[in-house]
């Protein structure tokens, strides 16, 4: 297997594969179509400067929305953002110096007017991270009658000749339809020369139109991100060169699901350095959720969002690879084991090519025989250790000898007696926090969990007796 040419995926591609990020996107209140397009096209940021700037913008916007804008201002701004059309095709045509049609001229005029009124609101309120260019030249050109209304056609005031011909055309419309049609053709010729003239004059504004569109779209995204910060209680992450460390990290999607059932999500602390981390823990102790949360948080960080935790220091990576073993459609026709191994291979190849990866692997080699499985896990951990990548692997295998850090989910609380626990309330009896351990043994609670799931008693009893022998 060869390494595919490495490409940085944008937000659109990431939300296709990551349900957590999709959930974040679904909860973002972006008002405009250009805003939505802007976010979709955002690249996964991997330069400290880019992330720093975006996070500073966001911090500024949170403060600006909170302290400088009244509710009426926000409504006003949203109303205008909502009216924005996606005019990138028109701007591309303008860039190619094509002649624009009435619909395109309308789009540009409407955009220039909206841009002006958004700029007015921002200026009045002292928004100063970026400014919008003055487009009054565009408005003058496309609003010859100075009505200030967002509507457009080839106005009679563009040409005296056109104005006269139109009058005659209307007078003859009923009496002499054939003549009226001839005059109309003549009018169309004049209109075309006006379109050409307008299009040519607009070329010099193309750059500013594009910049303003980008900035307004960006502003829309920043406002949406800032609302999300309050809604989900996100925190501003710090950029760290070496380690990733979360205090009270949580998964917004699962937290909201639990909240619907009046349950609480237990946030946990975790830190990752350059040693691979092996996480063990009983079934249903939240190991997979933890991996999903780490992936989501890393993605949010590198798309310039605040992250779901109380405090966070995060190391920038070139890519996040999450191997949960549920992406069946990607490698169709392969067994789950084959899929997983190809995923792992992808991580190793990227590591060897010098990429910095956050690799999150759920129960590596669980679908093959335990002896070989254990050997594969050990080998993978050793390679990750060698390349000093942030790697988190969950496993049920004991006796992994490779050099790594070991964390264990505390699991079922000591005092909890099995009788009271059921599949419905197991959440209340589980302690999801992580403890650092030195030995390579693993918790043995599979039979207990199976019992809680209230399965056939014969299965439980027989399993116990086999375990005893």
């Amino acid at each position: 297997m060869t390494l595919k040419k490495y490409q940085v995926r944008n937000f659109r591609e990431h939300i296709k594969n990551n349900k957590g990020l999709r959930f974040i996107f679904d909860n973002l209140k972006i008002s405009s179509i250009p805003g939505r397009d802007y976010l979709m096209e955002c690249k996964f940021l991997n330069k400290p400067f880019d992330i720093k700037v975006e996070l500073q913008y966001l911090e500024y916007t949170i403060d600006f929305v909170k302290n400088s804008l009244s509710n009426a201002d926000i409504d006003n701004l949203n109303l205008r953002l909502h009216q924005l059309n996606s005019i990138s095709v028109t701007l591309r045509d303008l860039d190619k110096e094509l002649i624009l049609d009435d619909i395109q001229l309308f789009e540009i005029k409407k955009f220039a007017l909206l841009s002006k009124s958004i700029s007015d609101i921002l200026c009045k309120k002292g928004f100063d991270i970026f400014q919008l260019h003055d487009l009054s030249g565009v408005i003058e050109l496309l609003d010859p009658d100075n009505t200030g209304e967002a509507s457009f056609y080839i106005y009679s005031s563009y040409s005296k000749k056109l104005s006269e011909l139109r009058k005659i055309q209307q007078q003859t419309h009923n009496e002499d339809p054939e003549k009226a049609e001839l005059i109309r053709q003549h009018c169309i010729e004049i209109e075309d020369t006006i379109r050409e003239r307008l299009s040519q004059k607009l070329i010099s504004f193309a750059r500013y139109l594009k910049i303003n569109l980008d900035r307004i779209a960006h502003l829309d995204v920043l406002i949406a991100k800032s609302i999300l910060v309050n809604e989900f209680n996100l925190c501003k992450p710090l950029i760290d060169d070496n380690i990733t460390e979360y205090k009270q990290v949580f998964n917004p999607f699962i937290k909201s699901k639990l909240l619907e059932q009046n349950k609480e999500f237990q946030a946990v602390d975790i830190s990752l350095d350059q040693k691979p981390v092996l996480i063990t823990g009983a079934n249903m102790s939240g190991k997979t959720v933890l991996l999903r949360t780490l992936a989501l948080s890393q993605l949010m960080f590198q798309f310039g969002f605040y992250v779901p935790s109380k405090e966070a220091k995060i190391k920038i990576v070139d890519d996040v690879i999450l191997s949960i073993g549920d992406n069946t459609n990607e490698y169709n026709g392969l067994s789950s084991f084959a899929m997983e191994i190809l995923n792992i291979n992808d991580i190793i190849l990227k590591a060897k090519s010098g990429k910095i990866i956050l690799a999150l692997v759920d129960e590596l080699a669980r679908t093959t025989n335990p002896d070989e499985g254990k050997a594969l896990v050990s080998a993978f951990v050793s390679i990750m250790e060698k390349y000093k990548l942030s790697t988190v692997i969950t496993t049920h295998y004991s006796g992994i000898k490779s050099d790594c850090r070991r964390l264990r989910v505390k699991g079922l609380k000591e005092e909890s007696s099995s009788e009271k626990i059921s599949i419905k309330n197991i959440n209340d009896f589980m302690d999801y926090s992580l403890i650092e351990v030195k030995d390579d043994t693993i918790p043995t609670e599979a039979i207990r969990i199976a019992k809680i799931l209230d399965v056939d008693k014969e299965l439980i009893e027989l399993a116990k007796s086999y375990l005893g022998s």
Binding site: I103, F106, S151, Y153, R166, Q169, Q170, H173, N174
Partner: protein
């Protein structure tokens, strides 16, 4: 000058033909002309992509609609480009139809235009609402009676139905078919908080339980009923059918035990493709059919001329229909020529 004053009492009106060539466009043009004389400003749109300049069924010329100065209209990008009228663009939709985005504009001259509009009901409702922002005296909708169209002409407050020899050259049959449509138009409305939700559903059969929860029955349409008839009444006796209903489902439900408690909800009268016999048997046994959108039929307009040249007696036809429907019936072509 009949019914123009009545029309103006409503905020919106759709004009719907029982068949192609029953004079829908003639009727619309007549109304537009009368509105001009009264100095009233209309806003006009159409359902879906009906408007081709050549009628594709009969290959007869489909007339464009004649608009006056200041009329507001919505049409697709494709038809906007072929207009022979000066128009000021007021808005461009972000969504696209198969003929491009929808353009809202104001006529700046007299001229002709082909109409196309939103292809589904919820969007059509939004367009009608947005048109009222320009303060027209009435919103007119060039309607369609097509099972292919997802747009419902019943979103308007009022309706005019056009019928004629194109529907049937036999006068008795014509009257009977038109009367049946009128019966369907008069079906009672199902009023509920979830009506708008149901309008947004574009396919499938759904059960609505007593607490107004909607359950997907996993039956894509009544044409695929055979496999799943057992599950039909799983959640109670109220069904929402997003597509059309046909004889088959009515016959199937009629023979069930609790037929007298059974209630079928459809989007509007245009979704009923069941024959008169099946429908009557269903209703006679106590079954109910209700619509989400109900409109007020104001008048019927007739075109006694069939596309093949066959001509019915206009006066006799009008008398018969008027007696049967108890509604005003007009022959627009005749009125127009008399007024000239």
């Amino acid at each position: 000058m009949p019914f123009i004053d009545d029309i103006l009492k409503h905020k919106s009106l759709s004009i719907v033909g029982t068949e192609k060539n029953t004079g829908k466009t003639v009727c619309l043009n007549y109304i537009l002309k009368r509105l001009v004389e009264k100095n009233k400003i209309p806003a006009i749109t159409s359902i879906g992509i009906d408007g081709e300049s050549l009628d594709q069924v009969t290959n007869t010329q489909k007339p464009e609609i004649e608009l006056n100065y200041n009329s507001i209209f919505v049409t697709s990008e494709k038809h906007f480009a072929t207009k022979s009228i000066d128009a000021e663009i007021l808005d461009v939709s972000n969504r696209k139809t198969s003929l491009g985005r929808l353009i809202t504009a104001r006529a700046k001259s007299k001229g002709k235009l082909i109409f196309s509009g939103p292809p589904e009901t919820v969007w059509l409702k939004e367009v009608i609402k947005d048109l009222t922002l320009y303060k027209p005296d009435i919103v007119l909708v060039d309607g369609a009676l097509s099972r292919k169209s997802f747009g419902s002409p019943s979103v308007t407050d009022s309706m005019i139905l056009t019928t004629g020899a194109a529907l049937s050259a036999n006068m008795q049959t014509l009257v009977k078919k038109t009367a049946y449509l009128y019966d369907l138009i008069k079906l009672k409305q199902w009023k509920s908080d979830i009506a708008d939700t149901l309008l947004g559903i574009e396919s499938g059969l759904w059960a609505i339980d007593d607490s107004n929860n909607i359950h997907d029955l996993n039956i894509p349409s009544v044409f695929l009923l055979d496999k799943a008839v057992d599950n039909l009444l799983e959640y109670g006796n109220r069904l929402f059918i997003s597509g059309v209903i046909n004889d088959k489902i009515l016959d199937k439900l009629r023979i069930q035990a609790n037929i007298d408690k059974t209630e079928i909800i459809v989007r509007d009268f245009t979704r009923i493709f069941a024959g008169q016999n099946s429908l009557n048997s269903f209703l006679d046994k106590g079954g109910k059919i209700k619509v989400l959108l109900k409109t007020n039929l104001m008048a019927v307009c007739v075109n006694p001329l069939a596309p093949n040249g066959f001509l019915l007696d206009s006066e006799k036809l009008r008398t018969l229909l008027n007696k049967k429907l108890n509604l005003p019936v007009y022959d627009i072509k005749k009125i127009s020529s008399e007024e000239l």
